[in-house]
Amino acid sequence: MKLSCRIKNDTYHFKSIKEVLAKASEEKSGDIMSGIAAATSLERMAAKVVLSELQLKDFYENPVIPYETDLVTKVIYDNINLSIYREFQTMTIGELRDYILSHTTTFHELRKLTQGLTSEMISGVAKLMSTIDLVMAAQKMKYQAFCNTLIGEPGRLAFRCQPNHPTDLPEGILYSLKEGLSYGSGDAVIGVNPNVDTADSVSRILHMTHDFMDKWKIPTQNCVLAHITTQIEALEKGAPVALMFQSLAGTQKGNEAFGVTKEILDYGEQLMKKQGTSTGPNIFYFETGQGSEVSLDADHGVDMQTLESRTYGFAKHWSPFMVNNVSGFIGPETLFDGKQMIRADLEDLFMGKMHGLPMGIAPTYTNHMHADQNDQEIAGILTTVAGANFYMGVPGGDDVMLNYQDTSFHDNASLREMLGLRPLSEFEKWMENMGLMENGKLTNRAGDLSIFD
């Protein structure tokens, strides 16, 4: 395993794969904050050179966090198909990049490949890719999943309607929901972030959204994004849950900080299969994002992008219906500006798909970071071109409960229209029946919440 290289008459030495991965990352403030980023632009390039010549087996044999001490590493390794891994093990990361981008490598071959890679290999190859590389590669892969409806069909783009209210006022949530639905947002899920994380409060919102879906015959799924333990409690008390939510991290320590263990997730899955309202088999909605581990002091000196990739390796175990990437939600200490946020979104979409996941993207920014609406829209367009399955839908792009910006109902409709994409098939029929859509275009009625009067 060669960990040194010579470029422009200087020699660069690296101590470990972990260091190579960190220094080969595109510049991000979170990696700088934890003191693991490349010190100079040439050192970054030297790390990329070393990375390009490492073989997959070097990665397999040297996980960045040991199998014995970290649950995430264990879950990732236990899910690797060794026969497929052995087929590719002598390939270098540079060759892997070429293989992924090659015209002769089809979706089916990539799909097979995903079963034999560890998350660190996937993170590594993304570090050798540019914006267009990431878009071209991501475009090749599209993964489907089924809860109450089918997500991920080619030519379709879905949205989570996110009708949050600062005090969980049912009437307020309902109005935002109606507005969102009238724009065609809500086919991925009707998902409310609760302000009060108690089983009673969460049950109330679950009942309300469930009853509304029932009354208007809306083909979708409902979800309240409380902590999984609260949702389990609500479900045990009989609340109607179609999709179970949880935030995940890329290390055991990170997940412990989130109050998540494998046992809880397994139990949640089991309970959903017995008592959830949805068809399944995909009943989980996970959220992830670069920077959560470093914010929680749970990063083990591993770079943010690699930890994000590991989160996907962990998430994959439960075959989720949707994995939403929310890089940009934390702040400037992890992703400084729009450029870093856009880069993270593209990496994450690619890496998620390389894990075989039905990925969506939330190109978000907070008000204390150096990014604005223009950056968010660029990220939205790029990742739609790259074939994301879904985005969030927030009234006017302004989440009045979580205090950050995300894609708006207007952006949802725009992303579909500019690329000729349709809502999920059952939902499109529903919109047509409601007189909200004709031939894939919004009608005059769209955007009017009072049509539900």
Partner: protein, 293 residues
């Protein structure tokens, strides 16, 4: 639209442009006060307007806009936002960005008689980019707290600017007395509240170690949103130590006049603190204990 109408509109627009230009030249970019009078000044509305074209029921939409601060009922141009709501959104974002960089009014700190501690974040840039700096008191504050802090009380309240000084300014005057009153009624002992400048949530662990209280409660400014920069959170932790994780903290967020009102929050927090003392736990652990009951 015929030619005459178009000409009329063009003339009107040109007149408006000239007016704006003239007023800009006169004032040389100085922000105008509302009292500066004159019809020349655009008084741009901050109110959401019912802007849906030909709605089925206008009253419903107007009612909805009163119920939630969410940006609904704003209509559309094609699939895009209308000009006015787009500009309102960008204005609110600009205001929120500016709010992050402000310091808390020294007057308020004086009025509430709060001792001021500082973290290792010496400037805003360090504070925003280095989490560790905002989680640790600086040497001088450590010394001060060791000498002057009230030790061994059940509760230590700290007020933290966090990411919004505006949130601290607009809630503390009501919230702090409400909590203190609640604690007194319950016979719970508390140390003199402190203000910690440029601080993150985890600074409470550092403070807890020094003052040796059962619980530290941080009242901290949340990152400013577009709808409000006034939102405050309360983070509470029972006897934090090496093994404390994020899920061990109890959080009540969205404390502001448009969310959970500060007075109401104060009473609620006092109840929660009492429960934490009773179960000797916070966060997920507290929930587990409560569920067993």
């Amino acid at each position: 639209m015929n030619q005459t109408e178009i000409t009329k509109i063009v003339n009107e627009v040109l007149q408006e442009l000239n007016k704006t230009k003239a007023s800009n030249e006169n004032k040389e970019g100085v922000p105008l006060k509302k009292t500066d009078s004159a019809a020349d000044i655009i008084d741009f509305t901050e109110q959401a307007e019912m802007a849906v074209d030909e709605p089925k029921n206008k009253d419903t939409i107007q009612h909805a806009q009163k119920i939630t601060p969410a940006r609904i009922g704003i209509g559309r141009s094609g699939t895009r936002m209308k000009t006015k709501s787009y500009l309102q959104f960008r204005i609110d974002h600009a205001a929120a960005q500016d709010a992050v960089l402000k310091d808390v009014e020294p007057d308020m700190i004086k009025e509430l008689n709060l001792p001021v501690l500082q973290t290792k974040a010496e400037d805003m840039e360090t504070y925003l980019m280095d989490l560790e700096a905002g989680r640790t008191l600086n040497d001088e504050s450590i010394r001060w707290l060791k000498e002057n802090g009230e030790k061994g009380k059940q509760i230590q309240i700290i007020i933290c600017d966090g990411l919004s000084s505006t949130a601290v300014e607009s809630n503390t005057r009501d919230l702090l007395p409400a909590i203190v009153q609640g604690l007194s009624l319950k016979g719970i002992t508390y140390a003199k509240p402190l203000f910690v400048k440029r601080s993150r949530v985890w600074v409470q662990d550092h403070v807890a170690k020094i003052v040796d209280s059962d619980i530290v409660i941080s009242l901290i400014g949340e990152r400013p949103g577009l709808a409000t920069a006034e939102s405050l959170s309360a983070y509470m932790v029972y006897r934090p130590g090496e093994h404390t994780v994020e899920a061990d903290r109890t959080v009540i967020s969205n404390i502001h006049k448009g969310g959970l009102s500060p007075v109401e929050a104060g009473a609620h927090l006092a109840d929660l603190l009492e429960q934490m003392l009773q179960y000797k736990a916070s966060g997920v652990q507290l929930v587990k204990h409560r569920n067993k009951k």
